[in-house]
């Protein structure tokens, strides 16, 4: 569904991503793990078109191939490629409802079913519908960020550290929800520090080290690999 | 080399260049038109450096800097007209300006960003309004005339003015450079970067801000004080909002937080405006165009927060540790 070849990202002289290749197949959960500063966020930003990059990114939706070079971020959303950014970044000056509606900004059809779907996944949001989103707790903001992304009916969802800063209870809740979303047919590319959990729910995984892919393979295999255990799972 | 050797080397090389320049000016090897522009550039540098302290380093946008300059200029004008020699008049000039800076700092402590900018703008306008309305003291709208020159007996001996102005310029530059490269300077920078974190690291941001405002105003007042005997005549229009904007423009074109950049831009713009004068009405079309193009193609200003390489050399000579910024 998503094929990335030779992707490179630089900030001035810093080469954050140094030519990586990977792919994500339809219906999968694929996780991208790696240490701080390995270039995970940079990769996702490049996929969304938020930062300039070189290399090729191809998106295949319903048998149609799209080369994403030069396509603006908002149009990528239109194609079904949606990101839940690191640090939630909800629109703090808007209510929960408005945040959700903005998620569906490009859509012109009826939204009631999508809203219901979001509320089914996150009943808490329904209770807070008119609250200014800056006053939500961290976990609620994370739910809102995911819910907002779902409103655009993504075909492939990029999640950047969705469990960061969340209470253990919520962490498990979030991973459960990711699986539920995936079960409904949304392909998932998950960036996580919580490698335990990520490897548990993913089918395949890539390990990023200083801008390069160091390891890749089925998630359960990687979870058993000694190198991964030592470097990322803490022994 | 020992630190002290380096220091003396630096100090003496600056003094020698100053002496050579003064010699050239005195014997008119640099003609009076050029020397006048150099003096104007030096005064502008002092004023722009004062703004750099509060805006570039402390991060508080001031749109009223011309007001402080005006205080310094008029105070010197008043006192020297009363017979005080210039160096003595400098004291109340800098003092009053500092006091005004202190007064602005107080209400400004609670304000941020654009609100602060508008507050300083308001203060500048109040000062200008006072200058116009203090009729007999300031000459009001028709300006303050017949201000004694640098030389007591009225002899327009330009090298004395030149010496005063360039000595002041060097002093102010050294003052700001040394201040910024000290713990006090880092405290100032930390306020610019993040006030909450600065407080959490034990920095008394109220003191830092008030101090920076007062010092910035004092230096602006110093620049103004030099204008009075140099120009011999002061008009209130030289201290209005547009003049404050001019100073901001110098700062940004030079590169916020860069001392050499500020100086370069101050001299550069002074000369440029003079050279562009023949363009008449088109000058005011070309000048802003240059300004915009500069921002578009070199948004970080001439120096972009860095210092000129020779300056690094000097800094290395002058201080035993390198504080060369990366970036």
């Amino acid at each position: 569904m998503l094929r990335v070849t030779g992707l490179e990202v630089s900030y001035g002289s810093i080469r954050a991503v140094q030519g990586i290749d990977f792919d994500v197949r339809e219906g999968e959960i694929v996780t991208l793990i790696g240490a701080n500063g390995a270039g995970k966020t940079s990769t996702l930003h490049a996929l969304s078109g938020l930062i300039p990059s070189t290399g090729s990114v191809e998106l295949e939706i319903d048998g149609n191939r799209h080369n994403l070079r030069g396509i603006a971020p908002d149009l990528r959303v239109g194609l079904g490629l949606v990101q839940v950014p690191e640090g939630r970044r909800v629109f703090g000056n808007l209510s929960v409802r408005d945040n959700l509606l903005l998620g569906a900004y490009r859509r012109k059809d009826d939204l009631t079913k999508d809203l219901e779907n979001v509320f089914r996944l996150f009943p808490r949001l329904k209770e807070r519908l008119n609250q200014r989103s800056s006053t939500l707790s961290g976990g609620e903001q994370q739910m809102l960020a995911i819910g907002r992304a779902l409103m655009s009916r993504p075909r492939i969802l990029l999640l950047d550290e969705p469990s960061m800063g969340l209470a253990p209870l919520l962490v498990r809740e979030i991973f459960r929800i990711i699986q539920a979303i995936n079960a409904e047919g949304v392909t998932i590319l998950l960036v996580e520090q919580n490698a335990h959990m990520a490897l548990k729910i993913a089918q395949r995984a890539f390990v990023l080290e200083t801008g390069k892919i160091a390891l890749s393979g089925p998630a359960d295999e990687l979870a058993r690999s000694e190198t991964v255990k030592r470097a990322y799972l803490g022994g | 080399m020992k630190t002290s050797t380096r220091f003396w080397l630096l100090a003496s090389s600056i003094l020698v260049s100053l002496a050579v320049l003064t010699f050239l000016v005195h014997y008119r090897l640099i003609d009076r038109y050029l020397s006048r522009l150099l003096m104007l550039g030096a005064i502008q540098s002092i004023i722009a450096l004062s703004l750099n302290l509060i805006t570039g380093f402390t991060g508080q946008l001031s749109l009223g800097q011309a007001g402080f300059v005006g205080i310094g200029a008029y105070t010197t004008a008043i006192f020297t007209t009363q017979g005080w020699p210039f160096p003595l008049a400098l004291i109340p000039s800098v003092g009053f300006a500092a006091l005004a800076g202190f007064l602005v700092a107080w209400p400004s402590l609670r304000l941020r960003g654009d609100y602060l900018a508008i507050m300083t703008l308001g203060f500048g306008e109040i000062i200008r309004s006072l200058i116009i309305n203090l009729g007999d003291l300031t000459g009001g709208a028709s300006g303050f005339k017949d201000i004694p020159g640098f030389h007591a007996d009225g002899d327009i001996n330009r090298s004395i003015g030149f010496l005063w102005i360039f000595l002041s310029f060097i002093l102010v530059t050294v003052l700001i450079t040394n201040l910024i490269r000290s713990s006090h300077g880092r405290a100032i920078l930390s306020v610019r970067e993040d006030e909450i974190a600065a407080r959490a690291m034990g920095v008394d941001i109220r003191r830092v801000k008030i101090g920076a405002f007062a010092l910035s105003a004092a230096l602006a007042g110093w620049g103004g004080a030099l204008q009075a005997p140099f120009l011999n005549y002061l008009a209130p229009t030289s201290y209005d909002f547009l003049k404050s904007v001019d100073i901001v423009v110098i700062l940004v074109l030079g590169g916020m937080g860069s001392i050499t950049g500020t100086i370069l831009a101050a001299f550069g713009l002074t000369l440029l405006q003079e050279w562009l004068r023949f363009l008449g009405d088109y000058r005011m079309v070309i000048y802003p165009l240059l300004m915009i193009l500069m921002m578009l193609f070199r948004p970080q200003g001439l120096m972009g927060g860095r210092e000129w390489s020779l300056w690094n050399l000097i800094a290395r000579l002058g201080g035993k540790n390198r504080e060369v910024r990366h970036g």
Binding site: - | Y33, L40, S142, G143, Y233, A235, T237, D281, M284
Partner: protein
């Protein structure tokens, strides 16, 4: 070897060619160009051509002083025509004294300008004279007892006229109320409302025509119909106003309707050269330049100090009247009062009398 002895005689002009009042500067400059061209066409003076070097001061005193230094140091001028505004002139009067370069300001009316010393002259009459002319006209001809004044406190021209009008009007037993505003203000309703409460017989508006047109309209809009009075800054106001302006009177340097042959000739030449009617500023610029030229001729030298000596004795008939200098180097000359009247196409002015000093 002196730099004044050979080649063309260089005269400097410092005028606002750009900035807020560029219009004034350009008209004055054009008139000076005309005067120089005329004399060069007639073979120059002392057998030498005259070169006019114009510098733009942007109406900024600091730039004026820069320009002056450049003209003296680099161009070695013999005399200066300028500056235009009093602020700019005041910025260079002491320089003119120390450099010993004679300057003739065409239009700086502030009394203080020529006090700097023997090198500073002007072609226009001064604020105190003009304030007196208008005040006397108000008392004598309009029989006014109560006068309101609305002036620009940030403009020394306006302030000077206000003070002198007030002094004379009160000395002659009248009552005065004054309100002020700042340069560039557009809304005067607050002040006019206050003035309305005072019930004046006349309102004196000492400012340039652009402000005057705005103020006058707001005065009339508040239903005040008393005569409006002004000074030479009103020149050209007729073209910018409508019948509501009337009744209105102002003092001026000359009246374009004058049948004096010098005036007629000047107007024709200026129109032929620049395609527009000259205004009072142009007339003064022309006169200031010709005063300098006459002095050079009389001095028989392009030496600034010689020219200064000759300037003191200049006397003759110019476009803006007979001019000779008093002890303070201010011209002794008459003012005209004009009235704004309805003409064939829009408003025009009518000669309403001459006032002699």
């Amino acid at each position: 070897a002196d730099s004044y002895g050979s080649g063309p005689i260089r005269i400097g002009a410092i005028l606002p060619i750009s900035g807020r009042i560029a219009e004034y500067g350009k008209q004055t400059r054009d008139a000076a160009i005309l005067a120089v061209e005329e004399i060069n066409a007639a073979g120059g003076i002392l057998g030498r051509q005259v070169e006019l070097i114009v510098e733009d001061d942007e109406a900024d005193p600091v730039k004026t002083a820069n320009a002056f230094t450049k003209l003296v140091e680099r161009d070695k001028i013999s005399a200066l025509m300028g500056a235009l505004t009093s602020n700019c002139s005041l910025a260079i009067t002491n320089l003119a004294m120390s450099e010993k370069i004679p300057m003739v300001s065409p239009t700086s009316t502030n009394d203080k300008v020529t006090l700097a010393g023997e090198y500073v002259f002007r072609a226009c009459y001064i604020d105190s004279f003009q304030g007196q002319v208008v005040a006397n006209y108000a008392v004598d001809t309009l029989k006014a007892r109560r006068a309101a004044i609305l002036y620009d406190l940030a403009n020394d021209y306006s302030k000077g006229l206000f003070e002198n009008f007030k002094k004379v009007f009160e000395a002659r037993g009248g009552t005065v109320v004054a309100e002020s505003y700042n340069t560039g203000d557009k809304d005067f309703n607050a002040q006019i409302t206050s003035i309305r409460g005072f019930n004046p017989d006349v309102i004196f508006l000492p400012d340039y025509y652009s402000a005057v047109a705005l103020i006058a309209e707001q005065i009339r809009n508040q239903g005040i119909r008393v005569p409006l009075l002004g000074a030479d800054g009103w020149d050209e106001v007729a073209g910018k106003a409508d019948t509501w302006m009337m009744p209105a009177f102002y003092s001026n340097h000359y009246s374009p309707e004058s049948q004096d042959p010098d005036v007629v000739k000047f107007i024709a030449a200026y129109k032929a050269r620049f395609g527009v009617e000259p205004n009072a500023l142009a007339a003064l610029g022309y006169d200031a330049t010709r005063i300098i030229l006459q002095a050079i001729k009389a001095a028989g030298s392009a030496q600034p100090t010689e020219i200064q000596k000759a300037l003191v004795n200049v006397s003759g008939k110019f476009v803006t009247g007979n001019i000779s200098f008093d002890a303070n180097r201010n011209p002794i000359k008459s003012a005209v009062m004009v009235e704004i009247v309805q003409g064939t196409s829009g408003l025009t002015t009518r000669y309403a009398g001459t006032v002699n000093p």
